[in-house]
Symmetry: C2
Subunit: 336 residues, 2 copies
DNA sequence: CCGAACAGGTTTTACGTATAACTTCTCCTG
DNA sequence: CAGGAGAAGTTATACGTAAAACCTGTTCGG
């Protein structure tokens, strides 16, 4: 530790161990088999330990030209869903010596700004969830390897995509409600221009369109419980016969519908069946417990990270959507 | 762009603009007043723009010896509370040209491992929430400037601390319930050895201890809705007279109590008053809406970041706890 | 009208690391 | 016993940036 307060460098370790800086790098980088003797190696490790040496990552990154760090762009951290995605991505990343930096897009799930200004980590790649096209173009312009989560495979400018099979989830919801006898539907949709929500609308309309005598109205809401209350209250008070089932784009919206229904004097599920999508902890905290579509967030994150690793290594990413499953609970019943 | 596919460097920009690399650095670093002519500066900026130049952060960090990046260690991202902390910290950071990297401690709110292994960003400082002593010691050993959130001011090894006035929140809860006439209390406590939870227990016991004829039982639960259901069911089925009010360490636990109460055939608030702490969106999604203590997460994050900036600049951080406020809703009523 | 001040740059260097290329010595094999 | 093959290192270099130190020509005050 030559000079007072600065952190020790590999050169300080070398001096303490009586070897060259190169030897330190070899030993600590585990590339010393047949290049340095076991006794010398141990001496180096000992010196590093007593000095409390930790390599300067900026220098290492500069030298290697890569950082083993990837950015995970998520719309929000207000539910545990993206926490799960992060957890899954991190697990796979750690197995390959990578780190994951989170960038919650400040504008929520909508148009994300270019995240690099604020995430000043040097990056090897990006996993992005539900990004707006302009931000996507910005990232692509950076030539960074990119994996898109839940995005239009056709419109992703050649980036790899990893998707949940949301379409199948919505089909299962529709099937379930139809088989209970429902015919008048309200779709409470997220007020966001994002492919994953377009899929919900499209698939629901498609499935219900095959059944004669079915009606489908749509209302839009910001993705929050409070926002959904307002939107659902307005929609339920609308003209014409009241819907008997509300299909929500996510669980938070469904929780809002519960509240709107209570205020309107309606009982779930007797007067109104409600379904969600996500299967958050919230879904079983509300009464009655919510019929919803379970998404495997961690698996989603794992697949996303594996896809990015594949891209980084020039391999083709695994294909195929991630299956989802309907969880039937107490919020759906036959209409009266 | 001399060689094929690599990203352009400042040297490439210099060549394109017909100046030296130093000039590029001066212009783009905004240090060119009186050193480079306006026309040359514009030429450099133009070249940088057309080449799509973005500085290599690893090189910059190495050169400057700092990264303008700080690590925010949080126990979990499963609720919006720490998302708010992050948002607040990021806002202040951005005003000072800093970035914030999130590190959700994998073990939850308990003993955090040393976060540097996985967060491979080079860091200028750390803001850590509810860390275990060993991880704290590890970070201190790294000589990194450190700010602790909601931690024992005495036991933080000299690190600056920023705290919410949880003690006052608990006092307000106790006051509220006492004034409603409650005398038999259950404290549903988080199953975690962390200062912020010790404060809750201590303060509640202290306040109730001043009122004769009051009983206080304590049950412990992991911090999750499901965990709380089990813990609360057991506690409510326990021997002796049933408590009339349950004080929970956070809103998630309160949601679990609702569920346990339903299963036991008890009505909130008629048979059982319940209070939470956090004021999550969840608090108004459940029925009846939860009486709880509102914490200003964003302000918490802002204060944390400001404190770290102060430490980095050698100034003394702002002192004083952040006020909290009781929000009375429908989950508390006089006992029958 | 001389030198100082200044504008407008350029040359050079250092940051700490990883590794390619080189050196030296010893041992073994044909 | 020549010489090739390891073992056990060392020396030198490059990564891209920021900035200190240096250079050259012009202007202007005294």
């Amino acid at each position: 530790m030559a000079r007072g307060s600065t952190r020790p460098t590999s050169r300080d370790v070398a001096q303490a161990a009586g070897v060259s800086q190169a030897a330190v790098s070899l030993v600590l980088g585990d590339k010393w088999r047949g290049r340095v003797s076991e006794t010398t190696a141990e001496r180096v490790r000992e010196a590093a330990r007593t000095l409390g040496y930790r390599p300067n990552l900026a220098a290492r990154n500069l030298r290697l030209g890569r950082t083993r760090t990837v950015l995970l762009v998520v719309p929000a951290l207000t539910t545990e869903f993206f926490a799960g995605v992060y957890t899954g991505a991190t697990r796979v990343a750690a197995e390959h010596g990578f780190g994951v930096v989170l960038y919650p897009s400040p504008e929520g799930i909508g148009p994300a700004r270019n995240p690099f200004a604020s995430a000043q980590a040097a990056l090897d790649g990006v996993i992005a969830s539900s990004m707006a096209a302009d931000a996507l173009t910005a990232i692509r312009g950076d030539q960074l390897p990119l994996v898109m989560l839940d995005s239009d495979p056709e419109g992703s400018l050649g980036a790899a995509t990893v998707n949940l099979d949301i379409a199948d989830g919505i089909r299962q919801v529709a099937e379930h409600l139809l088989s209970l006898g429902h015919r008048r539907f309200l779709h409470l949709a997220a007020d966001v221009a994002s492919w994953t929500f377009e899929v919900r609308a499209r698939e629901l309309a498609a499935r219900l369109g095959t059944v004669p005598g079915t009606t489908l109205r749509t209302a839009h809401s910001p993705i929050s419980i409070e926002g959904a209350v307002t939107a659902a209250e307005a929609a339920l008070a609308g003209p014409g016969p009241r819907p008997t089932a509300v299909v929500c784009d996510d669980d938070q919206l469904a929780a809002g519908v519960y509240k709107a229904a209570r205020r309107a004097g309606l009982r779930v599920p007797d007067d109104l069946s409600v379904t969600g999508l996500d299967d958050l902890a919230l879904a079983t905290a509300i009464d009655p417990e919510l019929t919803t579509v379970r998404l495997d967030a961690e698996r989603f994150g794992e697949r996303g990270m594996r896809a990015l690793l594949a891209v980084l290594e020039g391999r083709a990413p695994e294909s195929g959507d991630i299956p989802v499953s309907l969880v039937v609970r107490g919020s759906t019943a036959p209409p009266r």
